[in-house]
C-alpha cells in the first residue's frame, strides 16, 4: 500500500477484483472471533450497561478533549517523557525522524500500530536510511508481503497459513511447514536479533491515561513490551482520540476491548508505561517520546453527528460481523482502516471526494451497531455522510456524479407526483412485456442491468388499485 493518502477509493473496482481466497480466509477467522465474543458477552451480566458507560465516557472525553490532552501532556512530562504535537502526517513523520536521527538509530523495532500506518511511517523511515522491523506476527507477515493491513487487529487475516509459508519461502528463503506454531517460531527467531540490535522502538497506544500520563498497550505476543523496553529510545505515535480521563475509565474500556476484539477476557499482555526509566537500575528505555497526532481528528470533532466516529477503540468487531467486509476483505476499502468503521472514518479523514464511495459500501443492515462496544451509531453516520456526498453540507460540497443527481431528481419527480406514479405503474408492465417471461425479467438494458446481471427481476404487475376498486364496490366483501 502506498503511503500517500489515496486520491480516490474505487470500492466498485476493488471489490470486483477480490481473490476468492480472501473471503474464505476472512470468514473463517472472523467467525471464530465472533463465536468466542458471544461466549464472553453471555458471561457478563452488565454488558449493556458497560457499553453505555463506555459510550458516555468516550463522548464526554471527546467533548472535553482539550482539557484531557493538556492534563496528559503535563503528566507525561512530569513522568520524564516528552510530548510532541502533530497537526498532520507530515509533522508526525518529521517528529519521529528527528528523534531517530538524534538517537542515531539505524534500525527500529515496531509494535503493531495503526497510527504509524496512518502516517506511512515505515516508508518515511526507509527513505531516511533507517530500517523499520515490524514485530507483531501479522504485521511482520504483511511487511514481508509489502501490503497494508486488511483488518484492524488481524493485519494478515486475508492470508491462509499455506500462503504465509509460501511467503516465508520466497522472502526469507526458509522452508517452513504450513503450521502456525512452526511459522511463529521462524518469525520469533528472526525477530529476537532485531529487538537486541534496534536503537529505537516505535509503538502506538490503545489508550492514554490523562490522570497519570500513562500509555496503555494491549498485545498478545509480548512484542509490544519488547519494543518499548529493550531499545534505549521509545517513541509512541498516538491519535489524540485515544486519551481517557483516568484509570477508572480505562477499566471500563479494557473490559470491553479484548472481549469485543478476540473474545478474550483480557489480552495476554497489558502494558502500562509511565515515563522512561528513572534510574540506571530500572528497566526500560532512557527516553520516552509521545507524538500526539491530530491529522483531521479535530475537524471531525466539530461535526456533531459524525463526532461519535472518534469514540472507536479499534476492536475490529464491526468488521467481524459485517457481511460486506466478510465478502470483500479489507483491501477493497482502500485505506488502512476497513469495514464499517473504515467506511465512516475514511471519507472524513480523506474527504468525500476521495472517499465518496465508502458510505455506500454498506447495506445499512446495522449488525455493526449491535456489537460496537462503544455504541457508535454507524448506520446513522453512514447516512449522514451519504447526505454529504449527495447534496453537500457545511463540511463539503456534493461529490456525487451528476448522473446520480439527475437520477435522484427524476426519482423524486416520479415518486412525489401521484398521477405520474400511477401512470408509471400502468405503463411499466406494458413496456416490459417483451422482456418478461413467466413473471420474470432476465435482461434489462443499462443502467438497469445492474440488477439483472446478478439476478432476474420479478415482472411489474401493478393491479392492486383496480382490484381495490372492484373489491370495495363489489356486492360481497368476504
Amino acid at each position: 500500500m502506498s503511503d500517500a493518502p489515496p486520491e480516490y477509493i474505487d470500492f466498485a473496482a476493488y471489490s470486483r477484483h477480490v481473490p476468492t481466497t480472501i473471503p474464505a480466509a476472512v470468514q473463517q477467522a472472523t467467525g471464530r472471533f465472533l463465536d468466542t465474543r458471544a461466549a464472553r458477552v453471555a458471561e457478563m451480566e452488565n454488558w449493556e450497561a458497560l457499553r453505555q458507560a463506555a459510550s458516555d465516557l468516550r463522548l464526554h472525553t471527546l467533548t472535553h478533549l482539550d482539557v484531557y490532552l493538556e492534563r496528559l501532556e503535563q503528566q507525561v512530562t512530569a513522568a520524564g517523557g516528552r510530548v510532541y504535537w502533530a497537526r498532520d502526517a507530515v509533522e508526525a513523520r518529521a517528529h519521529v525522524l528527528g528523534i531517530a536521527r538524534s538517537s542515531h538509530a539505524r534500525t527500529v523495532v515496531k509494535a503493531k500500530s495503526m497510527a504509524t500506518e496512518e502516517i506511512g511511517l515505515n516508508h518515511a523511515l526507509e527513505e531516511a536510511g533507517i530500517q523499520p522491523f515490524e514485530t507483531d506476527l501479522g504485521e511482520y507477515i504483511i511487511q514481508l508481503a509489502g501490503t497494508g493491513p486488511s483488518h484492524i487487529i488481524v493485519p494478515a487475516v486475508h492470508l491462509k497459513k499455506e500462503e504465509i509459508a509460501q511467503l516465508f519461502r520466497e522472502k526469507l528463503g526458509l522452508d517452513a511447514p504450513a503450521d502456525p506454531v512452526a511459522l511463529t517460531a521462524v518469525a520469533r527467531t528472526a525477530l529476537r536479533e532485531r529487538f537486541l540490535a534496534a536503537e529505537m522502538g516505535v509503538s502506538g497506544a490503545n489508550f492514554l491515561v490523562a490522570e497519570t500520563g500513562t500509555l496503555v498497550l494491549v498485545t498478545n505476543e509480548g512484542n509490544g513490551r519488547m519494543c518499548t523496553t529493550v531499545p534505549d529510545v521509545h517513541v509512541a505515535v498516538v491519535g489524540i482520540d485515544k486519551v481517557v480521563p483516568d484509570w477508572e475509565s480505562l477499566t471500563v474500556l479494557l473490559k470491553l476491548l479484548a472481549r469485543s476484539a478476540t473474545g478474550q477476557k483480557l489480552s495476554t499482555y497489558t502494558s502500562f508505561i509511565t515515563g522512561p526509566r528513572r534510574s540506571h537500575g530500572e528497566g526500560g528505555p532512557k527516553e520516552l517520546h509521545l507524538v500526539l497526532l491530530d491529522n483531521g481528528r479535530s475537524r471531525i470533532l466539530a461535526d456533531e453527528v459524525a463526532r461519535e466516529t472518534l469514540k472507536c477503540i479499534r476492536c475490529g468487531c464491526c468488521l467481524n460481523v459485517c457481511p460486506v467486509y466478510k465478502n470483500v476483505g479489507g483491501f477493497a476499502y482502500g485505506w488502512f482502516i476497513s469495514g464499517p468503521i473504515g467506511a465512516i472514518f475514511a471519507p472524513q479523514m480523506l474527504g468525500t471526494r476521495a472517499g465518496r464511495e465508502l458510505p455506500y459500501a454498506s447495506t445499512l443492515c446495522g449488525a455493526c451497531v449491535d456489537v460496537c462496544p462503544v455504541k457508535i451509531p454507524i448506520t446513522k453516520i453512514l447516512l449522514h455522510l451519504r447526505r454529504r456526498v449527495a447534496q453537500g453540507d457545511r463540511v463539503a460540497p456534493p461529490s456525487a456524479p451528476w448522473t446520480t443527481r439527475v437520477a435522484a431528481r427524476l426519482a423524486r419527480w416520479s415518486l412525489a407526483t401521484a398521477w405520474l406514479y400511477r401512470l408509471g405503474a400502468r405503463v411499466m408492465p406494458v413496456l416490459e412485456a417483451p422482456l418478461a417471461r413467466n413473471g420474470w425479467i432476465r435482461w434489462l438494458p443499462a443502467p438497469l442491468n445492474r440488477w439483472t446481471r446478478v439476478r432476474p427481476m420479478p415482472a411489474f404487475k401493478a393491479g392492486f388499485r383496480s382490484w381495490w376498486a372492484s373489491h370495495t364496490k363489489g356486492p360481497t366483501t368476504p
Binding site: 447526505r387 431528481r409 432476474p456
Partner: protein, 246 residues
C-alpha cells in the same frame, strides 16, 4: 366499534406484489377490521433518503403526509423497512420547528408493520391459517434491528396449522439487498445473496419467509438463479394460506 386502519402498500408492494396486498386485505378483513386505502399514496421516500438525497426524500415524504396525515387511524404496511423509514427517519426529515413536524410525529406513532400490528397491537398470533410445509424464516434487517421485531413473525408462523418451522443458519445476516446497494455494488450484493440462498437451500425447506419486499425480490431472484424451487414468500402469503397452495 369496528377498528379502522389505513393500508400503506409501499411502492415495491404495489409494483411487484399486488397478490400479497390482496391477501393482506383478506386477512385484515377476516379479523373484522375496516380497511381503507388512501389513493394518494406512492412511496415513503426511503430509496432517496438512503441514497443521501434528503431534500428529494422530503418531497416524497410530504406526499405521504398528504395521503395519510389527516386521519387518526393506524397505518399498516407489509414492509419493515418502510415502517422504519416512517417511524424513525420522518422525524429527521421534519425536525421540530418545521411545519410538518407534528404531522410527521403523528404518522410515526401510528404506522405499524403488519405482524407487529397483529401481535403487539391486537394480541393476535393465530389468524386461522394452514400451511402444511417446511418453512425457514429470514429476519430482515430493518424489521429486526430497525423496529426491534424479534419474535413477532415467528409467533405468527408458529400458530399456523401443520407448518414445520426449520431454523435458518445466519437468519439475521443481511441478504445483500440493501436498497440502492444492490445496484451500486451488484457483485458484492450477489456474494451476500448467494450465501443466503445456500443457507436457505441447506435447510430443505419448501419456502423461505420474510417481511420485506426488497429482501424477497433479492432472495427469490437468487433462488431462481440457483435453479432452486424453494419459494421466497411474504409472511402474508403463509398467513393467508388455507393449505391449498404452496
Amino acid at each position: 366499534m369496528q377498528r379502522r386502519l389505513q393500508l400503506f402498500v409501499t411502492c415495491l408492494g404495489e409494483q411487484f406484489y399486488p397478490d400479497v396486498l390482496q391477501k393482506m386485505v383478506a386477512i385484515l378483513e377476516r379479523l373484522g377490521l375496516s380497511v381503507e386505502f388512501p389513493r394518494g399514496q406512492t412511496c415513503c421516500g426511503q430509496p432517496l433518503h438512503n441514497s443521501g438525497f434528503q431534500d428529494q426524500a422530503r418531497a416524497v415524504a410530504r406526499g405521504f403526509l398528504r395521503a395519510f396525515g389527516s386521519s387518526d387511524a393506524a397505518i399498516v404496511s407489509p414492509s419493515g423497512s418502510c415502517v422504519d423509514m416512517v417511524r424513525h427517519h420522518f422525524l429527521e426529515l421534519f425536525p421540530p420547528g418545521t411545519p410538518e413536524h407534528e404531522q410527521a410525529r403523528g404518522v410515526a406513532a401510528r404506522t405499524f408493520e403488519l405482524s407487529e400490528y397483529l401481535v403487539r397491537q391486537l394480541g393476535i398470533t393465530d389468524v386461522g391459517a394452514r400451511f402444511p410445509h417446511k418453512v425457514a424464516y429470514h429476519a430482515s434487517c430493518h424489521y429486526l434491528r430497525g423496529l426491534g421485531l424479534v419474535t413477532e413473525a415467528k409467533q405468527l408462523l408458529a400458530d399456523v396449522k401443520d407448518i414445520e418451522l426449520v431454523p435458518l443458519p445466519e437468519e439475521d445476516t443481511c441478504c445483500g439487498f440493501g436498497g440502492v446497494f444492490s445496484v451500486v455494488y451488484p457483485e458484492v450484493s450477489r456474494a451476500m445473496m448467494q450465501a443466503k440462498v445456500r443457507n436457505v437451500i441447506g435447510t430443505g425447506a419448501a419456502a423461505v419467509v420474510a417481511c420485506d419486499s426488497g429482501c424477497l425480490m433479492n432472495i427469490a431472484g437468487g433462488l431462481r438463479q440457483a435453479g432452486s424451487d424453494v419459494r421466497a414468500m411474504h409472511l402474508i402469503e403463509v398467513l393467508a394460506s388455507q393449505g391449498d397452495a404452496r
